[in-house]
Symmetry: C2
Subunit: 450 residues, 2 copies
């Protein structure tokens, strides 16, 4: 019988995170201050991030040691398993070999705690008592809640109000781990109060929640802010995924021809792909594909330019693929992919032609999700189904061409908190939102001039 | 650093299930036919179960080979990890070593697919096209839905109506895997129609759902019925849990002084404990503890006698600890433990003093569940929190006595579908239902005379 699972002993949890920056064959554009429009200095970030994370954000060291305290917590779910999707291959009748790295085994059910635990650790180390963050659907918020709990930090999560009421389960999860969760806009911050005065029934948005979380952190000496994607240090922490996958593919005796991940802010995609891009820089032939929603197509339809990370223009200006910071993506179920921008590192790699990108509408990705659940058992998160759709299409292409092809993808999380979306899909009620050209063109008019 | 996870390669998935019957130091009481009151003959069961499962039900072979096709599907989640709960030990400041076997890594999130896959396989082998079953909260129904999907069998699940509407997520999960799920009582069976005529708004019960599923199976030649606990063959299939745990404890270099599992019908408890009871029969000193809800205390407050497995008196008469087949347990959140009876094998072992039993009210078990989530990360299913409560009390007892004690328990599933119950607990709204003495005494008056 062929092997299905490639597991690693916990002694094989990577000892270092891989920092791709020194290996880039092009310079990474600087980051600008949102007010002065001058390049950001590390000390500008000190009110919101601890020193060690700011250092990592700009580090040119290729490997950054993972602290023992972080590796100890990683042991609760890492190394995550690598699977060969034999049933899916059989169903597709493809000569392709399909492998997936499964990050849904972490307690909150996604890859997010890989960075949450690291961020909580460095904050604790520097005497921070309390972290704030925003969350939409709740994947990130629950990961940070668990991480803060392990290090005895208070955690306050500003949860987009509409999700707070529609997705009470993720909120409960955060509360079990001891986090304080409030619906955003909240009366707890000036930004929140300002919006509530204008519209007491405001459903909130990620942009507003970010403003609240940052304001909270800036105003209190004992508090810092934590972000779940986009920034270099966040992507750095996720590289444990790809480093483990490299070892596991070696055990499987194959090397991928294609590596695939879904992209929202870019963190799970970077996690699986950066260690393979390192091999590509060294000369390995390998394609890397980022998969995004057709309704929020930053890479495939966005512009590579400087933009704000948030609606309130509080974040530094990042050079990235963007649909405009005022663009509000349609309410697709893959909440984790509803972001107007893209991680600067992922953006630069795409701009310079080291990675490809493809976009799908949501009915096509849910179709892939159901095929995956029926063949491999695991019900994937809506975000992850984007990657699966591209994997299936690559495998069918291999079948058509009669090519053996080795495909690896990141199954970033499970779909247990998204079953109502599957319900809508199965009952034929799931709507597709195609590329909202007019809204994007409108939003792109408001790009900062730099 | 101490080791946290003890993992096994998939080649170590047990090759045999362990049948405890030939090792019992006492005879197992016969099973009686519900109508003739004569001992049940294998052929009496043929309309509802395939021949191979009936053989397993009465087998006196110590080991029964696990078919390759079943082991192949087991590979999707087995061997499950064994964890050392170092964080929990530290939190309790106990000299005890605490280990847990985690069955929540299966795609439906519990131990149930260990038998669901085996049952679907044997039915498929004998040409059955369709399986029926009942489900309450949905753990069992979703496991069977997945198993049927893998073998191309149709699956019809009669889901207790109140759960069907209150727990739509488990229903969606079954539907993703292709099962047909109807709220019970349904208009699809005579038993269902009879109840709907009397009360169109009947909330349903597990007893009614069993009657519907059995009737459906008996009436159609292409259909058989599948049960998720209680019977010998179901417990047999779960012994993979304990067999793996034995190997993993060996790697950990310890042997448990105490093995703990929660009990409803008895299947996860049997799964973890029977292989250790085999060692006990051989002379090993080991305590085995079954943990049940105080509101449904079959072992600690029930009577060891013959009773029906269901309210409708359609099942054979089993000698077991029972609270009376008419006893409807209070609506505690651990739906999987709301059963009036107990597996005959577990009952006999308790009666003869080979295992102990303890009962807890639900606020005490949710308290344990939150402690576990905060120390070990994983949010346990309400059923599993019963085991955790007993583990914590054993560990605190070891602390008081300054005893080193090795404790092993089965973490039978995760609590992602039960977060509203945690929400109630955290907000102080969770009610306790203590032992309902009057209702049990009433129900015990209606025991069959045999």
């Amino acid at each position: 019988m062929s092997k299905v699972k490639f597991i690693l002993d916990e002694s094989k949890i990577p000892k270092d995170w891989y920092n791709i920056i020194p290996d880039l064959p092009f310079p990474l554009p600087p980051v600008y201050h949102p007010v002065t429009l001058q390049p950001v200095k590390p000390e500008d970030l000190a009110p919101i991030f601890p020193v060690e994370l700011i250092k990592q954000e700009v580090s040119t060291e290729r490997y950054i040691e993972i602290p023992e305290e972080v590796r100890k917590i990683y042991k609760l779910w890492r190394p995550t398993p690598l699977y060969r999707a034999l049933n899916l291959e059989k169903y597709l009748d493809t000569p392709a070999h399909i492998y997936y790295k499964y990050e849904g085994v972490s307690p909150p059910g996604s890859h997010k705690p890989n960075t949450a635990v690291a961020q909580a650790f460095y904050n604790k180390l520097e005497g921070v008592k309390r972290l704030t963050t925003e969350t939409g659907a709740g994947q990130w918020g629950s990961a940070l809640a668990m991480a803060c709990n392990f290090f005895g930090l208070e955690c306050k999560v500003y949860m987009v109000k509409v999700s707070y009421y529609q997705k009470p389960y993720r909120r409960s999860l955060m509360e079990i781990w001891g986090a304080k969760v409030v619906p955003s806009p909240s009366p707890d911050t000036e930004s929140g109060r300002r919006i509530l005065e204008q519209d007491p029934d405001s459903p909130g948005s990620l942009g507003v929640a970010i403003s609240e979380a940052v304001e909270d952190a800036v105003k209190r000496d004992d508090t810092k802010y934590s972000l779940g994607s986009v920034l270099n240090h966040v992507l750095l922490h996720q590289t444990v995924i790809g480093e483990e996958a490299l070892l596991q593919m070696e055990i499987a005796g194959e090397f991928p021809d294609v590596v695939i991940g879904c992209v929202g802010g870019g963190s799970n995609f970077a996690g699986i792909s950066f260690p393979f891009i390192r091999e590509k820089f060294k000369g390995k032939k390998i394609r890397i594909i980022a998969v995004e929603p057709e309704s929020c197509p930053s890479l495939t339809k966005g512009v590579y330019t400087y933009d704000y990370g948030d609606v309130a223009k509080m974040t530094p200006l990042l050079k990235m693929y963007t649909l405009g910071h005022n663009f509000i993506p349609p309410a697709i179920h893959a909440g984790g992919l509803r972001y107007h921008g893209m991680a600067p590192l992922v953006s630069a790699l795409y701009h310079h032609g080291y990675i490809e990108a493809v976009a799908y509408p949501q009915t096509k990705v849910f179709e892939a999700g159901v095929i995956f659940a029926k063949t491999e058992g695991i019900v994937p998160a809506p975000e992850s189904t984007h990657a699966i759709r591209a994997v299936i299409d690559e495998a069918l292409d291999a079948k058509e061409k009669g090519e053996k092809k080795v495909i690896l993808f990141n199954l970033s999380g499970h779909g247990f908190f998204d079953l109502s979306a599957y319900d809508q899909y199965l009952s034929g009620k799931l709507e597709d939102y195609f590329y909202p050209k007019d809204k994007v063109e409108e939003a792109l008019k408001e790009l900062p001039k730099i």
